[in-house]
Amino acid sequence: MDSRWLGGAVVIIIVALGGWYVFSHPSSPAPITETRPVTDQTSTTTTTTTSTNMPLAPVTVMYTDNGFSPASVTIAQGQTVTWVNQASDKMWVASGVHPTHMVYDGTSKSQHCVAGYAGPVPLDECAAVASGASYSFTFDKAGDWKYHNHTSAADIGEIVVTAAPAVTASTTTVNAH
């Protein structure tokens, strides 16, 4: 085999691969922001507003044979995300990066996925679960947290956790007249 042609072919493959990645790699999908429903206040006469720390509704992410959906979710600090496995294969949700899972809490899979581990709660399911099962995790740290399915690392997603705002609860009174 002529090494010049062979070398040229490999170089072309590398360049093509790089170009393909740069131009086809999707930018971060538009995040889906979970918002609390707002009560219609058009028929009210008096409004009392108080600030309380109400629990935020959990957000659900589906895992199918096409990956995680939605792939990007924006939540508030302290909010819980539940991943539901609806794929034909197993799911093992874990923090980036594969395979160490260190990004969220700073400990590696070999540290936090062992019996007796007493450190911070890791973003790591630590086991592959079959279709129909789910996994929940409460994000206590603000940031942009990438995750993946450990058993199929090409399937990725991200949770954007915003700093916890003061949640305002509104009490409304309907006009009796």
Binding site: M1, S3, L6, G7, V10, V11, I13, I14, L17, G18, W20, Y21, H25, D65, D89, W92, G96, V97, H98, P99, K109, S110, A128, H148, N149, H150, T151, S152, A153, A154, D155, I156
Partner: protein, 125 residues
């Protein structure tokens, strides 16, 4: 040309071989981490994923030993380069980790392009 092409050639072969020896050795204790790089269509084959992983590991060991031997080096180096590029192409979402595979593929490319007349294997007894 390197001042000592024989050692330079050996360093390239050893470095590339190590990249092919480590995964199957690591997979013995942590197979799921390495199975995670297999694409869906491979895992969908009617064969146990662990069998697939062991078969792939056997292929990696064979290529590593072939690289270390230096015999007809362009063949295993070409296979190694294509395998590395394939792994990157099938796991683009893990590019933050796998970008190194492109660098390792460049080592394989260096072995493919190494000029024959001075290749150490042709000088060895």
């Amino acid at each position: 040309m390197p001042t000592n092409p024989r050692i330079a050639h050996l360093a390239l072969r050893a470095g590339l071989a190590f990249a092919f020896l480590y995964p199957p050795i690591s997979a013995l204790s942590d197979p799921t981490s390495w199975l995670g790089y297999f694409p869906h269509f491979i895992l969908a084959l009617p064969v146990s994923p662990l069998i697939l992983l062991q078969a792939f590991g056997g292929l990696e060991v064979a290529i590593a030993l072939w690289l270390l031997s230096g015999w007809r080096i362009r063949t295993p180096a070409t296979i190694a380069a294509l395998m590395l590029l394939g792994i990157v192409a099938l796991n683009l979402s893990q590019f933050d980790v796998l970008f190194r595979d492109l660098s390792i593929a460049a080592i394989a490319l260096a072995l493919v392009l190494w000029p024959s007349p001075t290749a150490p294997t042709s000088q060895s007894p």
